[in-house]
């Protein structure tokens, strides 16, 4: 559609049907619309080949039995049925992922907000502290897993050594059924709390008009009152943005567990993304893997939708309806 040479539209006075289809009613506008499509075209191809096409394909595959070697075989809803009733790792993997997200998201958001507020006071040295807080988020997840496995070493790891000085016998952390998940939560909080979420909060805080805060202070509002009634409503869109991205990020957790614990011990850190990976790429059950992926998407969409719905009650847009 975008391949027609633009000269034709520019030269002839008539507006071609093609131009009108593109939403242009004059030769100049048609010429411009055509160039718009030309510049858009790489992304259109990418969108179709790498995103929309695969989405449709995976939807189809989720109703088939497909093991790569032979063509897909239609099985109806069997894969979904299997997930809900015949796969004894399905529900546990969802539960572990939710437990992880339920801690990482709220604690992470609160931590990031507190750090951002500390940095937003305009005190000296803030710049260097921001740099320090941000560094962990640059560590590759693989290195993160390797380094923290070493930090969590039951005998000579600095964490358990420090605990022993305080008279506490530290657990085996990632080798212990009960402590593996908390250990992964600690690792991921360390790596993310001072990262992008904090920077976005910082930008949000800097957007709070100081006139409002000054006015409240004159009216006798204390620190908490100013935070609760001015800062928090003003940054609520930022909170929502970080919340939605945080939930999606937490539910997708993969590499950390894959490298540090391999999902163990005893499936204690068998996250849902690990489950999909194993079914699709270790067992090459592409049909079943696609069904799991679709359930995952539905779960994410449901969460996002829920958050957007609930957010109407607590998010305040200063620019009016938008």
């Amino acid at each position: 559609m975008a391949q027609a040479p633009p000269r034709i539209a520019g030269r002839t006075r008539e507006v071609s049907w093609l131009a009108r289809a593109a939403g242009a009613n004059s030769p100049l506008k048609a010429h411009k619309a055509l160039w718009g499509y030309i510049f858009l075209s790489p992304w259109l191809v990418g969108l179709v080949v790498f995103i929309v096409g695969p989405i449709i394909a995976s939807f189809y595959l989720s109703f088939t039995d497909y093991q790569v070697m032979s063509p897909p075989n239609w099985v109806g809803l069997a894969n979904y049925e299997k997930a809900f009733t015949g796969d004894n790792l399905f529900w546990p993997s969802i539960w572990v992922t939710l437990k992880y997200a339920l801690v990482v998201v709220p604690v992470g958001l609160l931590g990031s907000l507190l750090l951002a507020m500390a940095l937003n006071q305009g005190k000296r040295g803030t710049y260097s502290f921001r740099t320090i807080f941000y560094l962990p988020s640059l560590v590759p997840a693989v290195a993160l897993a390797l380094v923290w496995t070493w930090l969590f070493h039951p005998e000579v790891g600095p964490i358990n050594v420090a605990l022993s000085y305080a008279g506490i016998k530290g657990p085996a952390w990632i080798a212990d059924d009960h402590w593996a998940l908390p250990a992964l939560i600690i690792i991921s909080l360390w790596s993310s709390v001072g990262g992008n979420t904090m920077l976005i909060f910082l930008a949000g805080l800097q957007g709070v008009p100081s006139a409002l805060l000054d006015a409240a202070a004159i009216d006798g509002a204390g620190r908490w009152a100013k935070f609760r009634h001015i800062t928090l409503p003003m940054i609520s869109p930022t909170v929502l943005f970080n919340l939605i991205l945080g939930v999606i990020g937490a539910l997708k957790v993969f590499t950390l567990a894959f490298v540090a614990t391999k999902g163990g011990p005893n499936y204690a850190t068998w996250f849902f993304a690990l489950h999909i990976y194993q079914q699709a790429f270790s067992y090459f059950r592409m049909g079943y893997g696609s069904a799991l992926a679709w359930l995952f998407v539905i779960m994410l969409l449901a969460f996002t939708y829920l958050q957007l719905r609930v957010s109407q009650r607590w998010v305040y847009y200063a620019g009016g309806e938008s």
Binding site: L40, V142, V156, F241
Partner: protein, 301 residues
């Protein structure tokens, strides 16, 4: 600890009037810096431990209690790590993938963003919303069909799947970021150039791109870091050691046979340091662009 702080602040406030304000302020400040310094220690300690472990001799690794510093720093551990596994080859593969995908992202996302920011055509809003929607999409749902596609193309166990997709717009996040930046530039600029007879391509290349330099830098840096650190795609597409990227190869250090029962943690840590360094260096050199890019993506989100 919070209670302790509150107690100290109260204590300061209870001082004789007149001086109290100044003292409370400075005590508050001292506490602030103490707390933030403690946090910094928590954030920095794992880096310190990685580096110090990487410089220890094998027998020092399992000494109890562990020492903060190696008795004699073993710089040659880094060379040993490079020779234990084909680390240099993995670095080279990572460099290829990162370079090509970053170039692809920068060029194609800015072209597409130019279309979104400056042209009017039917379907633009729809495409844009679709673009934003893909940001929410978990990779898992497109991964399987993409794998099947690349398998059909015979690209499995090559580096192609790791960079070719980035030539087509680079990804929603980068397009969004570039568009936001382009929208912040006055449209009069291109109008003036167009009246002077410039083509759209010339306007883009000669007028807008030079002004987009901060956003281009942000996109390049974020793309560099995310590709360098990417684990899932190499894991799925690469299966022979000589094709690995560094992020993927690193985990195989765990599985190195322990020669004569010697612990290998020092080599593992040395390799981890080498994997971290490029992104840290990049961050220290271009911190401003990093922050601007993240902020730009968050504010209008």
């Amino acid at each position: 600890m919070a209670r302790q702080q509150a107690f100290l602040v109260e204590l300061a406030g209870a001082r004789p009037a007149g001086r109290s304000h100044a003292i409370a302020w400075s005590v508050g400040n001292v506490l602030f810096y103490l707390a933030i310094a403690l946090l910094s220690v928590i954030f920095l300690f794992p880096f310190f431990w990685t580096v110090t472990s990487s410089l220890k001799q094998p027998f020092e690794l399992f000494e109890y209690p562990p020492k903060l510093f190696p008795s004699v720093p073993q710089v040659q551990n880094y060379l040993t790590a490079l020779n234990t596994e084909p680390l240099l080859l993995w670095v080279w593969n990572s460099v290829i993938v990162v370079t090509l995908s970053t170039i692809g992202v920068v060029v194609s996302s800015s072209v597409v963003a130019y279309s979104f920011a400056r042209f009017e055509y039917r379907g633009r809003e729809l495409f844009f919303i679709l673009t934003l929607a893909t940001m929410m999409l978990p990779a898992q749902v497109t991964l399987i069909p993409q794998f099947i596609l690349f398998n059909a193309l015979g690209w499995i166990n090559t580096l192609l799947p790791l960079w070719v997709p980035f030539l087509f717009g680079g990804g929603a996040f980068y397009i969004f970021l570039m568009r936001q930046f382009l929208l912040s530039l006055p449209a009069d600029l291109d109008e003036a150039a167009l009246i002077d007879g410039a083509s759209y391509l010339q306007v883009f290349w000669l007028v807008l791109l030079p002004l987009c330099q901060p956003a281009l830098a942000a996109v390049a840096i974020i793309s560099f870091v995310s590709t360098w650190n990417d684990f899932l795609s190499p894991l799925i597409y690469l299966n022979s050691q000589e094709k690995f990227t560094l992020a993927l190869g690193l985990q195989f250090f765990q599985n190195v046979p322990e020669e004569g029962g010697m612990p290998l943690q020092h080599l593992l840590m040395a390799a981890s340091v080498m994997a971290m360094i490029p992104c840290l260096v990049l961050f220290f050199s271009f911190q401003r662009y990093f922050v601007e890019g993240v902020v730009l993506s968050g504010i209008k989100g």
